[in-house]
Symmetry: C2
Subunit: 361 residues, 2 copies
Amino acid sequence: MDLYPVIMAGGSGTRFWPASRAHYPKQFLNIIGSGTMVEETLNRVKPLAKEEQTIIVSNKEHHQILHTLLGENRYVILEEPLGRSTAPCIGLAALYLKKQGILDKPMVVLPADHFIAEEETFRKILSIGCMLAQDGDIITVGIVPTRPETGYGYLERGEVKRKIGGVTVYDIKRFVEKPDQKTALRYLNSGKYFWNGGIFIFTPKTILEEIKLHLPSLYAGLQTIEEAMDTSKYQEVLLSVYQYLPSLSIDYGLMEKTKRTVLSLPGDFGWSDVGSWDSVYDLRKEKRDKEKNLTQGDVILIDSKSSLVFSQSDKVVVGLGIKDLLIVDTPDVVLVGNLKKSQDIRKIIEELKKRKQHRLL
Amino acid sequence: MDLYPVIMAGGSGTRFWPASRAHYPKQFLNIIGSGTMVEETLNRVKPLAKEEQTIIVSNKEHHQILHTLLGENRYVILEEPLGRSTAPCIGLAALYLKKQGILDKPMVVLPADHFIAEEETFRKILSIGCMLAQDGDIITVGIVPTRPETGYGYLERGEVKRKIGGVTVYDIKRFVEKPDQKTALRYLNSGKYFWNGGIFIFTPKTILEEIKLHLPSLYAGLQTIEEAMDTSKYQEVLLSVYQYLPSLSIDYGLMEKTKRTVLSLPGDFGWSDVGSWDSVYDLRKEKRDKEKNLTQGDVILIDSKSSLVFSQSDKVVVGLGIKDLLIVDTPDVVLVGNLKKSQDIRKIIEELKKRKQHRLL
């Protein structure tokens, strides 16, 4: 089947500071050990679609990084002049496909910075989703929750719609925003909720119609961009439109409002959004040494355990009698933190902003 | 009174790795915060003796470091071609003084890498010691013990010999080597022991006679060196003699054997041999922040306490939620360790030797 992966690689974040920076975000890091996250994401969909059918939406600022990583390639790379969350990103990819005369083929929207353990299962789910999307429905992959996570949005599922190839297709009743701890626990125990992993499948026709309906200003912007496509004014128009677009996620801007049928396929393939150093430590269990240390680079550990040590500079990092620590050595910063509290990295970012040490962000 | 400080600056050690290295030992570090230890030691005796009466015995290997630190100066610098512990070092200084015709003036032997809080008291004790030494006795400064330390030698004191200027002079019965824990506790509780802080006062005549008596091969070596002094062969002869000298401390080689009267003055002036990173942390209480962190260099600490963080490179060191940690960042190594176990640094040295990473030693 002809399908069009859309890899959303324009994100930025601070949770992997100091390895990730404003100018070098997480999707370009090799923290999972087998390649950068964007490359892993591309490789994962390679059996499903040719390079020239695969769209990467990235930030113009990361042009050089992406080209250095991918080298000679046939991917379609769409560059956004500014990050404006997922709705404009998806709109731009749909617009590109429309321009190519592709309106009724499924596009598979995937974040560039997630981890998936069981790739075969993942591809099977996507293939089934693509079949369903051709009828005009919106397909999401619902991640089967494993803990009462408060950091994700949830999908409340309705009744079983049908079964295809052993996979149950659920009707989705509603998209819900990040819950508090109590609500998250209730969701988990009810067995009726999925995590929203940001994986969507629809046709360009479907999503453009939905944008027109629920995000009319984005739609107007996309029309302006469409007119400038293939002209010398494209970059200029793109920038002027993006400047005034609000940052809106596809979930909040559209999925929570749509009247269309939203179906969900259960994604039980070892998913992680790799949201913190701690999650990298969890994901790479098999790479830990017998003292449960996970190391990368030139590292010497003595009497040390349960620590994550990444040396990304040419220094040797030596740990002596340490436990549950996160050490990240980069060319201009050394971070030493409590691994179990790696979500507190945002506090460092706040402190650096307060100190106006912008070069370290 | 004419007296001759002899600053023993030839030591090497590993306890301040990675700030100290084989080619850059502790006495040349500024870890106490007010200057390098050798400079502090020199400044401490400045009110007692002119620069040209002050002898620094150092290792030839550290020639450049010493000259860079001291700049233009009038100190007498005696360079040893190899480190051979304290007996040859003291012998060489005594020989130099003898050559200058100084045989009956006190020489005050001081390690270059100790800390002393109360400098006035320290100088008063040394002055009294110098008066006593002119009679041919050997004077030691006994450090009043504050804990059952197993890392030092001890002095067992005998009866009170006399009092001078409010200071009690004790007869020393014997020098004892580093005790085990139980013995150290007994020494502490008995009130009859001092720590041997390696501070000695005697005349060149006294010490050369003692060397002749108890260390005849060192004495023979010194005679050979004496003959070559002021000739073009000096360096060559010095090397050939030193090569075959055993490493012998003045304590073990001589003090434990002497039949002379050994007197001790109690040294209760806030002494520390600054033997570990932990001791630096203890000594610099007043420099800690309100979370009991002691930092030097470009350091940012968040939710962190009771840690010692030294940045000696141009990196920023960031600590997040850490406690009781030692972090030392140098241009080629980052050490992260348990501050309370900083004596375990020797384990790193062993590991580096095993891995043949000699450039890091």
